[in-house]
Amino acid sequence: MDKLFLIIKREYLTRVTRPSFIIATLVTPLAFVAFFVVASLIFSYESDDAKKIAVIDDSGILNGALKDEKGLYFKFEQKPLAQLRKNFKDSGYDAILVLPKIDNLFSKDYQVFYYTSGQSTLETEDHIEDRVSDALRDYKIDALKLERKQLEALNTSVNIEPEPIEEGGKDATKLTSAIGAGIGFIMGFIMYMAVFIYGSMVMRSVMEEKTNRIVEVMVSSVKPFQMMMGKIIGVGAVGLTQVLIWAILIPLLITIAQVTMGFDPQQQMPMGPGAPAINPDDTQAMVMAIMSEVGNIRWSLILPLFIVYFLGGYFLYSSMFAAVGSAVGDDMGEAQTLTIPIVIPVVLAIYIMIKAVETPTSSLAVFASIFPLFSPIVMPSLLASNPPAWQIIVSVLVLIGTSVFFVWLSGRIYRVGILLYGKKGTFKEFAKWIFYTD
């Protein structure tokens, strides 16, 4: 055990003190936050040059009721269009908007004409269309003598509120499942990343040791299995450290960005065209509701289980990566070929996870939550939507059993692989190696 600890310590410390690790750990959250800041700045960017627009409204539809907004200044002109066009250059206007007469109040289409010398931008056109459409709505309400309150009552937003069948069952709101899905998604992705990044880190490191020939010195002091476990645990600890630092740094940096730049991701994220502006009070209420739902989730159950799945999945996959690394030496191409069968279940699992989050009780979701190659990625994503206890227990037991078995199996391959040079590792060879005696 002492020796295992020594190996873990070395594997951990050499990686954590490496400049490339420190840079990656610190720069990734910075880059992540910078990306979001830049992205939201780009989306919130509006042309800063003001435009003066002459409006010709001969029939008096809008009655001077066009709001100046977003760098657009409207001025109602009595002069005829021909004259305005002729003196356009000296008039100080950037464009002329002509609103024709409305013949039929029930027509849903209305065409306005926009004269401009320069290029008209999509954004400007959108804004003008919105402004005119709003003004026209008011005009039509008045012209048709409609009651404003009645009109507003027509817009009903419908929300499904899930309720349990049994009396006293757990009452889940719709928000609960949405948040459960969101958290599940994040957990599934963390698992996916962990398997790939740290699994292949284990593999590269095994390959390096074999190429370096340090293994011969090492195995004359410690058992190959200790070497493999030391590496897997050491790299796993590196992974946890990195994920933990990111989990602290990313929210911290986002907060700093919000404070220093007055940037608010909730309001400035792109909403898509035509999305209704959210009332700040609604946002506030929404955040409160989300916070309370997040608080409602059984974290005391989910977090330990997440760690169980993290460890189970990590051991399962990284031991396979270690076995492949032991068999190939320095041939990265061959390593990639041999890792394909490892990568396929991981990629499949992420697709299943995306589907399973939407339908947590489907037979696909239940199967994938128990099948040990998928469960480390799929099951954490389902935990927030309260799967039955038997499903969790079976899934955890199967995963632990399989992980132990795979670590043992990989250890068998590893102990032969690291000492074998010049022989190609194939799956047929692996099968033979497993049954070799020491």
Binding site: D2, K3, L6, I7, R10, T14, E209, N212, R213, I214, V215, E216, V217, M218, V219, S220, S221, V222, K223, L419, K432, Y436, T437, D438
Partner: protein
């Protein structure tokens, strides 16, 4: 005899290939023991069995009188032919790590490191990464890592490759020193002149079998062909009486084979009687190289072709 290592009927098979076929030999304590054999003879397999990296299928191995067990690696120092160190690790950290893995306590490691690094005058390299060192320097570090934990038995696989003559001598002296302190050394090499120079006993392995084993002197004696070389101070073109076979005759030298039971003094007396001036008279001892080739060819007829 006091044996540090005793192998009895050791067999190791990989799939269909028999790597070690019923090998027995003993390594006397505080001696330098040559483990010899052509490529692929099974030397590495044997070393791996002794270092407990692999286990023999059958047969027994005793280290210092005890059947080989998992605590024994701490008493063995092994320097593989293919040197290996963590390239990015600093010399001091690396040596500390390897010594600690051999079961040395942290405080003992410190002391041993100070002793050996000062002895090899490499204290300045403490903070250097292995990859910054020359090959010869790396070799020194590798040797230190082999002996740092004060092993009873040291196994050196081609320890002199890549070393300049000065460092070769330094290492030879070190090996002699270790022997004087009671450490036993197994020395595996193809360089027969080195074996002749430093080994007390050898075993010759071919095709997984022990084909020759014993003290170097005894082996050389058993292979000698009763030939003598005479160097003359002047030219001599005479002939020899019957009973002496001339193997090679040059104007200033003569190689003579003695018949069974022949007497070298009789040859010398005859030549002196001829009145020729003799500058040297030597028995031709077969080199280990010749013995090696002879023994392997005998065991392995197809090699001749």
């Amino acid at each position: 005899m006091d044996l540090i290592l005793d192998l009895q009927n050791v067999v190791k098979t990989y799939e269909k290939k028999i790597a070690v076929n019923d090998v027995s030999f003993g390594v006397p304590r505080a001696s330098i023991f040559g483990l010899l054999g052509p490529n692929g003879a099974g030397k590495t397999s044997l070393i791996r069995i002794i270092t407990t990296i692999t286990r023999a299928d059958s047969g027994k191995v005793f280290l210092d009188g005890q059947a080989l067990n998992s605590r024994h690696p701490e008493q063995i120092g092994y320097m593989p032919e293919e040197r290996g160190l963590y390239k990015k690790m600093k010399v001091g950290e690396q040596l500390t790590y390897l010594a600690r893995l051999k079961g040395l306590s942290a405080s003992d490691t410190k002391l041993a490191l100070k002793y050996w690094m000062e002895k090899f005058e490499v204290m300045d390299w403490w903070g250097k990464k292995i990859e910054e060192l020359s090959k010869g320097m790396q070799q020194k570090i590798q040797f230190i890592s082999t002996v740092l934990h004060n092993p009873k038995l040291i196994i050196l696989d081609e320890p002199f490759t890549g070393l300049d003559p000065i460092n070769t001598n330094l290492l030879k002296d070190e090996i002699a020193d270790l022997r004087a302190k009671g450490v036993s050394i197994i020395f595996s090499t193809h360089r027969m002149e080195q074996v002749e120079e430093i080994c007390d006993n050898i075993v010759l392995i071919d095709q997984g079998q022990n084909i020759l084993n014993g003290p170097v002197k005894t082996i050389r004696n058993s292979f000698k062909q009763n030939r003598f070389k005479v160097d003359f101070a002047e030219e001599w073109k005479g002939t020899l009486p019957p009973g002496f076979e001339v193997v090679d005759q040059q104007p200033d030298s003569l190689v003579v084979g003695l018949a069974e039971g022949g007497n070298s003094s009789a040859l010398l007396q005859y030549l002196l009687g001829q009145g020729v001036q003799i500058s040297a008279f030597n028995e031709i001892m077969p080199s280990l190289n010749e013995i090696f080739i002879q023994a392997v060819e005998k065991n392995h007829p197809q090699v001749k072709a």
